[in-house]
Symmetry: C2
Subunit: 212 residues, 2 copies
Amino acid sequence: MSKSNDVSMSVIRRLPRYYRFLGKLIKKNITKISSKKLSEMLGITASQIRQDLHCFGEFGQQGYGYNVNDLHKEIEDILGISHQTNAILIGAGNLGKAILSYMNFNDKGFNLVGVFDQNIDIIGKNIAGYDVLNISDLKSFCEKISPKVAILCIPQESAENLAQPLVDLGIKGFWNFSHYDFAINFDNVIVENVHISDSLLTLCFQMGKLNQ
Amino acid sequence: MSKSNDVSMSVIRRLPRYYRFLGKLIKKNITKISSKKLSEMLGITASQIRQDLHCFGEFGQQGYGYNVNDLHKEIEDILGISHQTNAILIGAGNLGKAILSYMNFNDKGFNLVGVFDQNIDIIGKNIAGYDVLNISDLKSFCEKISPKVAILCIPQESAENLAQPLVDLGIKGFWNFSHYDFAINFDNVIVENVHISDSLLTLCFQMGKLNQ
């Protein structure tokens, strides 16, 4: 995997998709797949898949295709899922609650160690197995447990206020559901934005084209 | 806007981002912005922004930059937000509930006309102003109201079972939170996928790189 240092983000973004599709094949007890079939399923050319995987080593065999379990495991290793980075979630409102109930963090390489909110009606409640802690305890918590990732399910203004303190407390990566734009003030943290509304606006545009 | 028919998806995907940033500027009472400043804020080169907007017409003025309100309104028109497509949401569990509570659909070009679930504990409840209807009434509802978009907040298997009936009932576009892959069986519907777990896996990979 020594090749992987300069891999482009577009390649990296396709890896979870490969991983997900291979997981589906495993569930269906499919043990091998041709690059042509995989390409059809994914809507990505076989040559693109080969190129992508080639960034990380040699996979598949001419005339045989891919061993599904092996490739799934290899991509799991490339993604680093077994590493289990400690993460905290901030904001246990509707969105935070949904993420907590919906997401299996361990399957995705994260160990969720704390959930925080500032709302006294929510603090102390148990959501999907997590006791919601008071945001005022964030500092002492981080000093003790040293989480590396913060999941932000809070409004833009709160994210803006919390970003620097969180970085100061050792947070190196953000899974950011807020509309706060980290790029303006931080260039030394990893930020993965989930802008759900952008996706809905994209659909809006495409629906409009249908009507023309 | 006659130019816009062949615009690539990557351009289209940047439009909501422009729109969101311009909205922020309006809130801050900023009325004009240079292409250089806009470029810095967005982390996109000024030339890329010019190229993107050029797909839809002429915007901005040499030496002046962009009039924020005008550009915001133009992009709103390009996205077709005022058109208001009728949409239904299926699956009022944790994720569906979060989307209902969190999202302003009208702002994004959609009029949410119905929310459906199959769970008798949820049917009849009011979530964020929407009465949850019985999925068994979906057919008669669609025949009467003719929604064009379905928002799928259901597991993959349910999405797989509902996809064809929904298309038969006149659904032309899906906002798909499930892991069901429409591309395999449908090439005549618009699908906007939100794969939140793929985003978390991408973050997992990037965090792993930090530790190397």
